[in-house]
Symmetry: C2
Subunit: 212 residues, 2 copies
């Protein structure tokens, strides 16, 4: 397999394929052609075939794709065939929202701990967990072999905590803090900068107004 | 200006420029060369100049960019020079997290209302607002000339609510629901699918494991 060379654009489309295949499974559909899938997803059938060809094509085109098989294979490529351990750092509204989001757990992302530095929230319950003091973060990550740290802290705290995370051997950071973290090359990072998404929306609003 | 033809990739980079320029302003830096900005941002100076040239270049290169001017100009392009009205639909954890995020307001995104369908939460306070019954959504949008609806609802509810939104003449939807909304062409949509971001992260984790 040539998975290493696959472009970010193709990878970015895989979760969407998985979502549509999940819906098809729920509807009891067993096989689907690239044509029918393309109509549902508002992309071209040729795009779908090209994307899937990066992974060996996933079976006969004329006969259609086996929905269950395709769903499982894409899940494997996305690393969803085994569990991932997570901690959330920052027990504010966003941290608690993510902790309470059941779908992550259904996908195999297991939240093992939630941490904060504010004394007044330490010990309080979030779902099935108790908010822990951030001073315990480093040993917790090591003892529980945590793979992913979710950063839902303000900017200043995030930079500081990212150093603790690197020191404790974290594998990946899912970063919601509005800052670019300086990390060693072997630490995976995925940023979600919500303000930037909102600004893209307001750019489009502005363009639309200028056209009027 | 040829703003209409600018690629999505360039637009996507503007909020990041704005963030770095904001930091420079806070540090009291008045001018910066594309070279120095490129070092801070870990991009090439040529990339910066190319991006800025789409908007007329923003001033003399040899002399460096005026930080305040550049910050304001990029803000204008992103539509941040005037206020935008918003409602949040879905007063769960994520909806409340967004309602409480002060930075949106500082950027001119004013949250005018928060709605939910669950009787047990209607009337409860969120920041300076009271959660309203979703049955009042349509008239509220019309009466208050709301531009942006933030959808923080489960999948099924989101599709239904999006129809009400279109009927009430909404201009844009910031969609956190894990579904592709079917909308008329003149309704702007920006999706934030958090699970897809997490899957991209786990893809990278998987790739790293396969290399080991």
């Amino acid at each position: 397999m040539s998975e290493q060379k696959i472009s970010q654009a193709v990878i970015s489309r895989l979760p969407r394929y998985l979502r549509y295949l999940g819906d098809l499974k729920d509807e009891g559909v067993e096989r689907i052609s690239s044509h029918d899938l393309s109509i549902r997803m508002h992309v071209t059938a040729s795009q779908i075939r090209q994307d899937f060809n990066h992974f060996g094509g996933f079976g006969q085109q004329g006969y259609g794709y086996n929905v269950n098989y395709l769903y499982d294979e894409i899940g494997k490529i996305l690393g969803l065939d085994h569990k991932h351990t997570m901690v959330i750092i920052g027990a504010g509204n966003l941290g608690q929202a993510l902790a309470n989001y059941m779908n992550f757990e259904r996908r195999g992302f297991i939240i093992k701990g939630i941490f904060d530095r504010r004394e007044e929230v330490i010990g309080k319950p979030v779902r099935n967990l108790e908010i822990q003091d951030i001073s315990k973060l480093e040993s917790f990550i090591k003892d529980n072999e945590i793979e992913i740290a979710v950063l839902t802290l303000p900017k200043a705290g995030a930079t500081e905590v990212s150093k603790i995370l690197v020191g404790s051997g974290i594998t990946a950071i899912w970063n919601f803090a509005h800052v670019d973290l300086e990390l060693p090359d072997d630490v995976i990072v995925e940023n979600v900068h919500l303000s930037e998404s909102l600004m893209k929306l307001s750019y489009k609003l502005n363009q639309q107004k200028n056209r009027e």
